[in-house]
Subunit: 485 residues, 2 copies
């Protein structure tokens, strides 16, 4: 018998499109921060900090955010329906309110067991509840048949890009900076990312002339641009788009026949102004000019991961399709069928999110109190962090508008840029690595999201409690600037 | 302003690889069966049956299978950790045993909140618990760093195929008949499916000469065959592979440098003989001939969806990599990172599955009783269904060996074949559609899994309770044969 030959797979022969994909949110810095965390837990360390702050990822419940009581009480019954046989115990000994029991009972009737596969596009009654929510939110009709439950919004984006992109000439307009799900998925699909820059000087708004320029350039290069991604409120920027920006994008999409992919997962994380959905604006424009917008295709996404719900680990989300061709919808249905269905308990959480306790219902008061505490807590932390950035030399950061992030610009001394190059790192990577090593605070370099050439940023969440970590950033920054001055 | 132009997307310009994918398990028949179910619920119908039996999909809890009490009690606490503050109520009023509380407490300590993202490859302590299980099962070491939690086994297969297939020349050996996840995923990826037939005359075993023939033919056509998929126990066939078949496949994979993808999700659904894992056999062979098998790459998958757990809706699963290159593993890690992590409550369910109550622990007795009742119930139903098939003219079906399915051969009269062709259907599709229309029983035509030319089959689960539906199949079959005689 021959001796063992080499392995079949190596880094040079695996899928080159997977290899090309970049996903910095969970990249080298994140891995290193987990190593530090393990070292701290073991006690065997002389690190210069006592805790790791994972400000690299919008993961509210890993930090301080508590789950909403009503939601989790309902889920506990869905997981163990036998509890419903002990109503008096639930109500009298465990403090479950009657509307918790009613909701659990209703969902169980609609879902059957949360351990069973649902329909590929989600439980019909949950799709209906989402449609009802969308009607209330937007003031326009929504149809449950156009709604698809997904394992978080990420999985929905993956589905949409898979169906929309036909080959390597298919292009998708993606904002820069962007959440790297988009560029990574397009890499894996071997489709073309058509980047357009957001306008930092206008609070990271969408500048249509810049979008047009990118679009025209891509088209001239032979790219078949098919869709435009808008993240609103923005990630990593936090920007909340005004009505005129949304109108301009819709009108542009109509003219150029682009599918609009509206990533609206931060729709409740808005501190300034109000959230305006693309769906509402599209329907509004269609009402103003009947017939003109009937073929503008919109896919809008939402999730239980963000907002005051913050249930990332449950992988719940949905997308709604507007004006899509029924045959294309059938392909989307088939595609999601291959993975069977979104997690059913996550689907139930979507239902709870879109249909929370109403005023007058027994659980309302506590729900609203918890919800508001999270909302104002986030706002307060964002403000404190922003204030800290304002003190820092060479750091500029717009007023917090929404989402869970700040994305300051940093100007680093030439010596720091050289030191970074000597390590084979971009200056922002170098800065963020040093920040992690010195303070245990993990943030993501701007290059992970894309940034205009010659500019440097980092993204940090404002989810972590306390002010100590903010202080440690300020202190680090001063020392860093002094070191490389 | 111009009037509305056409939509951007239509069936002719969406991703042709998505369009080419076929997934019959949730295809036309399944959709029609759901319409019937809705009609029956509305009461507005004159259908010739009173219930729809979804025998098309292995979805135990949609039918009769009850969740295991221990598992769901633990999950109810994970969803609402506040319950742990009421220990006396849980124990004295709700009958939760102390080991339920302990497990929930331990998992919460390891996981944090089930609403938080975990590490991309899963919660470290859960990976360790899986590694411990694999060591107990196989008698060989397992390393938590080689284990990746996934959203059901399907998502794991998707990951593996994405990394392994580099381009349209990359080929994967897939058994025929097969669960269509494989062919569908390869279509979407635009990689090459290299089918090899299972041997119906040998209880659907793997015949190495047939595998070699397929392999050689594909190689001659320029296909770069990279991996071989084995589904053991078989889906749709139910076959449980003997040791010599497994050894032969491993030896072949070594010689030809093929990655082995072992889909072992039915490992506890075995009625005849015992389940032998590919991991155990590979390590055994490596022990017998040191050094020879050190580079044979194996990925083996498991899931909470099947077996006596049957928790499909929770989308829990994992895969273990053996002998993989660390750089390739890093690409797999990055790929799963893009979708963030598997549902965390599903991860916890995996932990419960691999580490159930042990003899002497308070919950053991009930757990084992429930587990055995499901196991023997399935066996009994399989036997009853098999007996019914034996009575049916032109139907042949091997003795039930395992999984959740029977896959009988059917021989249909020439007139039925003509009637099918007149409708543009394959004969097995025609037969299954007529069966659904007459009885409400939904099964999947053999063509949905692949079958040798000139043969016809259908796949049915044996999950549905009662004997009435089995009787209705027998009655339908007789009438069908009479009609087309």
């Amino acid at each position: 018998m021959a001796s063992s030959s080499g392995r079949r797979l190596n880094i040079d022969n695996v899928n080159p499109h997977v290899r090309a994909a970049k996903y910095a949110v969970r990249g080298e810095l994140a891995v290193k921060s987990e190593e530090y965390r393990a070292q701290l837990q073991s006690g065997m360390t002389d690190l210069p900090f006592t805790q790791v702050i994972s400000a690299n990822i919008g993961n509210p419940q890993q930090l301080d955010q508590k789950p909403l009581t009503f939601f989790r009480q309902v889920l506990s019954i869905l997981e163990n329906p036998a509890l419903l046989e002990k109503k008096d115990v639930l109500v009298n000994h465990l403090g479950y309110k009657p509307d918790v029991l009613e909701r659990a009972k209703r969902l169980l009737k609609q879902v059957g067991s949360v351990g069973a596969y649902s329909a590929s596009n989600g439980v019909p009654a949950i799709r209906q509840s989402i449609a009802d929510f969308l009607e209330r939110r937007d003031g326009f009709p929504a149809n449950q048949a156009d709604i698809y439950l997904s394992a978080g919004a990420s999985s929905g984006v993956n589905t949409l890009l898979h169906v929309i992109c036909a080959d390597d000439k298919s292009g998708i307009l993606v904002p820069i900076p962007q959440y790297p799900l988009y560029t990574a998925s397009l890499s894996v699909l071997n489709a073309t990312c058509v980047p357009y820059f957001l306008d930092e000087s206008k609070n990271w708004g969408t500048d249509l002339s810049i979008i047009k320029e990118s679009y025209d350039k891509a088209k001239a290069q032979g790219t078949d641009v098919r869709a435009i991604v808008i993240i609103n409120p923005g990630n990593p920027t936090g920007a909340s788009l005004p009505e005129e920006d949304i109108r301009a994008v819709i009108e542009f999409a109509r003219q150029e026949r682009l599918v609009i992919i509206a990533d609206e997962v931060y729709q409740t994380n808005v501190f300034i102004g109000e959230f305006i959905s693309f769906k509402r604006m599209l329907r509004q424009m269609a009402r103003e000019k009947p017939g003109v917008y009937d073929n503008v295709e919109l896919a809008s996404l939402h999730s239980v991961s963000k907002g005051m719900v913050g249930e990332c680990g449950h992988r719940g989300g949905y997308f709604e399709l507007v004006n899509f061709d029924p045959q294309v919808q059938a392909e989307i249905y088939k595609f999601v069928s291959i993975m069977l269905c979104a997690p059913v308990i996550g689907q139930c959480l979507v239902e709870l999110m879109v249909n929370p306790p109403k005023p007058g219902e027994p659980s309302y008061e506590l729900y609203q109190k918890e919800y508001d505490a999270i909302f104002y807590g986030l706002k307060e932390r964002a403000t404190a962090l922003h204030r800290a950035f304002e003190q820092m030399e060479g750091v500029e950061c717009g007023v917090p508008q929404g989402s869970m992030y700040l994305f300051p610009t940093i100007k680093l001394p030439a010596k720091a840029v050289q030191a970074a190059a000597a390590q084979g790192r971009t200056p922002d990577e170098f800065y963020c690595m040093r920040l992690l090593e010195a303070t245990g605070v993990c943030v993501v370099p701007g290059s992970g999201f894309g940034q205009k050439e010659g500019t440097l940023h980092f993204r940090t969440t404002f989810l972590a409690p306390g002010t100590e970590w903010v202080g440690s950033i300020v202190k680090f920054h001063k020392e860093f600037m002094d070191e490389f001055r």
